[in-house]
Symmetry: C2
Subunit: 260 residues, 2 copies
């Protein structure tokens, strides 16, 4: 896999601020062909990432959880996937790569911060023995600190996340890691511009760890950055954190494209 | 819109039987390129079907309902869409056509037969004033008859469905109709080959009405017919009626492609 082009050129706080939902006035760029956000997915390219019989696991917080039913937690089951990007990406994979006999789980849980992933990592990751593991975590690590519910700092996020990845690679040395960029959209019901500077540390750390662990990097913030040229931030995520149907589809496509 | 190629050449019961899940042994055809079921969607073609500000409504039974939350029944809301083909198709539209300001509803209800659509048509269709109305109905009209819970016949299905469409066109003369082919997959937990002959009347009637009302026709049975060359029928719909994630994605893509 070649994902170097998806990485930020450097961990520049200025670039992050420019890309984090400031709207078209702050954005330099070319207009999009026919008002579309996404290029077409090419299943022929994505198929190369997966081997027959692969077990794929989506991990994260409420954005991944997306209202999934937690009683049975079945693989390849829509109710157990909820209504977010994980369902949309997994449905696409299960149809397009129907011959590959994939097993796909969603184990996102609303409100989780990285240390809470660690607490449930044995049953909710290691025991599932994924070949492909996707992690989207970080927005609550900042949000719950901001709202006074959590004492965490960027340094704690980095240490906890690195330890989780070390532990994962020790148990599952051949796992393909997919690390997703935490994102926010300003000008929405929960997120204003005072979030930008303090939040920016979290996606920067996620990018550093993605490089350190040779993970595929999924640039969600950049995808939303393009999207707000077409429709306002609230169209993609009403509160700036939880994506709409359009936002979830944007994420699913960004996730799938990152694998090519 | 040109949908003539999607219509069955004639309402041939023999063709239907050949296409209704009999497996590869009974199927003449060419192998699929690289094991894929679906051709790529082209948003540039699909965009032509929709006008800015269009209201789109998905109507039907449990296949459309797909566990949607019924308290608020919001437009463009994932929980109000459930986890079926309507969510997948609507999410794709809301992202790809983000500039079109679409309003999309799901009002499918589990267990519905065509007369039950008629009973709730005022609040659940006409009052929403859709510009595009998609209907998938028919499998319960047969299944509930078969299980002794309903006295309906193909003739009642045809009369009720035609009256519903007449009423719709009187109230909404400019609505674009999308009529979906009811389908079954044999060799599954609920459906065996004894369904094929008696069930075949229902998709035949749906096709006749689609032509009569100049509707777009969505050939779901043909889509599944291709799909079972790649993976067994239970992969696409465990009970032969309710699609899996892969089956729902297949339906969403078939639905979207029918609009081109």
């Amino acid at each position: 896999m070649n994902n170097s082009s998806n990485f930020p050129k450097k961990s520049s706080r200025r670039n992050f601020l420019r890309n984090a939902g400031l709207g078209t006035a702050a954005v330099a760029g070319t207009p999009f062909l026919s008002g579309r956000v996404a290029a077409d997915l090419d299943p022929r390219k994505i198929t190369k990432f997966f081997s027959s019989g692969d077990v794929i696991l989506f991990q994260g917080d409420s954005i991944t959880d997306a209202g999934r039913e937690k009683k049975n937690q079945l693989a390849n089951n829509a109710r157990s996937f909820g209504t977010g990007y994980a369902n949309l990406a997994a449905s696409w994979l299960l149809e397009e790569l129907a011959g590959k006999n994939l097993t796909i789980y969603n184990r996102g849980i609303s409100g989780n911060k990285v240390y809470q992933l660690a607490e449930r990592w044995e049953p909710d990751c290691l025991e599932l023995k994924p070949n492909v593991l996707s992690i989207l975590i970080g927005v609550n690590d900042y949000w719950h600190f901001r709202s006074g519910k959590y004492e965490g700092t960027p340094e704690i996020y980095e240490a906890d996340f690195r330890n989780l990845l070390i532990r994962t690679k020790e148990e599952l040395p051949d796992v393909k890691l997919v690390i997703c960029q935490p994102f926010i959209l300003t000008g929405t019901s929960a997120v204003d511009e005072t979030w930008l500077k303090p939040f920016s540390a979290y996606p920067e750390i996620a990018a550093i760890l993605a490089k350190e662990f040779n993970a595929v990097w999924v640039p969600f913030q950049e995808a939303f950055h393009k999207a707000i040229e077409i429709a306002p931030a609230t169209y993609w995520a009403g509160d700036g954190v939880h994506p709409s149907m359009a936002g979830a589809q944007l994420m699913a496509e960004a996730w799938l494209k990152a694998l090519t």
